[in-house]
Symmetry: C2
Subunit: 328 residues, 2 copies
């Protein structure tokens, strides 16, 4: 059995059944302005409209809904400065499970407030002195809680893959316009990319899939070219959801096989894509969510006749949003 | 013939035919968070996703597409600091008609840039010393151009009404959830309210329709109670699209007959509704567009089992948006 036998189209379909009626079937937005700008039809999978404000809810709910009775009774622990934490907190709340989220003391205020708003217990750590994995592991051991990993877990990946399933269905249903030729997806730890590419390659085998990272957080791009996992220093990208130092152990083999390429975009192109979303499309996209659109608008990737872009989330502080969208 | 025989459901349907394939059929968004907050199903007609960034494009294109050959050759003139100007500029560009837009010298930068971006000629005036109607009238006379009024025109109203047609169709189509009980619409000059209420009362006769204005721009509310048109001083509301000093001569009789009520909201409730749209719904709504949602969130209007809200536009400068969404 190869390392990625664990993620199949069937597993993504099974996740979709569990999520039916719980997740939002987010719209596939189009814009004449964007089509003109890119020179092709562009379809935007609007995961900033997902519950908890990002695609992460899909994986978190899929994973938590399969806990045993005993595991539910003990609760879960997750480490995340942002969207994974909020997603686990909301999924736990909906399922009546206790959740502890380990967050950096200097994490984004809006994201930390959202986690608390969903009723989870916040446990802060000092990112200069402590490892969040170690802190989470200690809590899990002390309180017999289950650790919910952000991406290196097949049920998390299968849940994220349902965004790809929906995208393929929406593009090909009546009025949807037909199959897409190219899908762009952001890459952090690689869970979304692995799930979406499993769904897309299963349903639309002729579509190319390209992963996009910030230039200064190009661990997957480097690894993709090297053929094995490469680590980088903690990257200071504005895309706070894509600061993984290396691809996941389980996600990387899947992405190395299914992605057609992994490309990178500079920081100013990410901010410009956020501004475009604000001023022209009237949608709020966080830096990590704007990364794949930046690849199109910045000319790193050329639009296909029909290109789908996963806008992965919209959780951004008003002050940070204002700063990034006011730049010229 | 009474004063409002000029606007009928048939006329709105005819406008919809002209606009088919030209306007965006904007989505009817829903949000579990919003439903919880309001205590009922809330459907948001997302006109900030409309071409030119507001519903105004519907009326402008409907009007301009019916110009005679001779009128097209001479061009059009419109006075507007904002969305009507951008809408006329875009419609004129698409139809190959020359457009002059009369704008206040201190108008919102983003809106003025959009007007120029669509290729229209900008003519600034000093709002302290000149009347925009007079300036526009002079240009029309000198250059034999047709004045495109912002609301007091049945073809403008019929075009705006197509937002109501779509809303009724989308709510009642498969998966739409069924008829709505209540529709909330912003009121400035009254063109959108007249068009939408004509469509809604024609298609969903049991639905109530409530117009919403800023408290400090309550000319239609005062007029509605008085039974005749009342003027107010130039209002300094943040809702720059709703600064009309009195209801329209043609729009008021229609709104007086079809609206079930006209209510007002304070300025801070408008800013709070914009913040809610930003932080929770991840959409960019301008102050005027957030006014009807403010009525729900601020408790001025109680949600019905199914309430539709017209979010009329999303054209707001980054700096203004930041200021309004960062307030506590």
């Amino acid at each position: 059995m190869s390392a990625d036998d664990g993620l199949t189209l069937d597993r993504v379909h099974a996740a979709a059944k569990r999520l039916d009626g719980v997740v939002h079937r987010t719209p596939l937005l189009t814009s004449a302005t964007l089509d003109d700008e890119c020179g092709g039809n562009v379809l935007l999978k609007a995961e900033m409209f997902q519950r908890s404000g990002s695609f992460k809810f899909r994986g978190a709910y899929n994973r938590l809904s399969q806990l045993s009775e005993a595991e539910r009774g003990q609760g879960v622990v997750a480490f995340s400065s942002g969207n994974h934490g909020a997603a686990v907190a909301l999924a736990a709340h909906l399922l009546g499970v206790k959740a502890v989220i380990v967050v950096p003391a200097d994490g984004p205020a809006l994201k930390l407030a959202a986690i608390e708003g969903y009723g989870a217990e916040l446990r802060t750590y000092d990112p200069q002195r402590e490892s969040r994995e170690v802190v989470a592991g200690e809590i899990a051991a002390e309180r017999s809680m289950t650790v919910i990993r952000p991406f290196d877990d097949y049920e998390i990946m299968a849940g994220q893959g349902t965004a790809g399933l929906e995208l393929a269905e929406q593009a090909t249903e009546t009025g949807g316009g037909g199959p897409v030729d190219l899908v762009l997806v952001p890459v952090g730890g690689g869970g979304l990319a692995a799930g979406v590419s499993t769904a897309i390659k299963g349903l639309l085998p002729h579509a190319a899939i390209i992963g996009v990272e910030p230039e200064i957080a190009g661990d997957t791009s480097l690894s993709f070219r090297a053929g094995h996992r490469v680590s980088i220093d903690e990257p200071a990208t504005i895309a706070d959801g894509l600061r993984a130092r290396q691809p996941g152990e389980l996600t990387f083999p899947i992405n190395a096989r299914l992605l057609d390429d992994v490309v990178t975009v500079p920081e100013d192109a990410i901010a410009a894509a956020m501004r475009f979303c604000f001023a022209r499309l009237k949608i709020v996209v966080e830096p990590s969510g704007a990364v794949p659109l930046a690849a199109l608008l910045h000319g790193v990737v050329r639009a296909a006749p029909r290109t789908a872009v996963v806008l992965s989330g919209g959780n951004v502080d008003p002050a940070g949003f204002a700063r990034l969208t006011s730049q010229k």
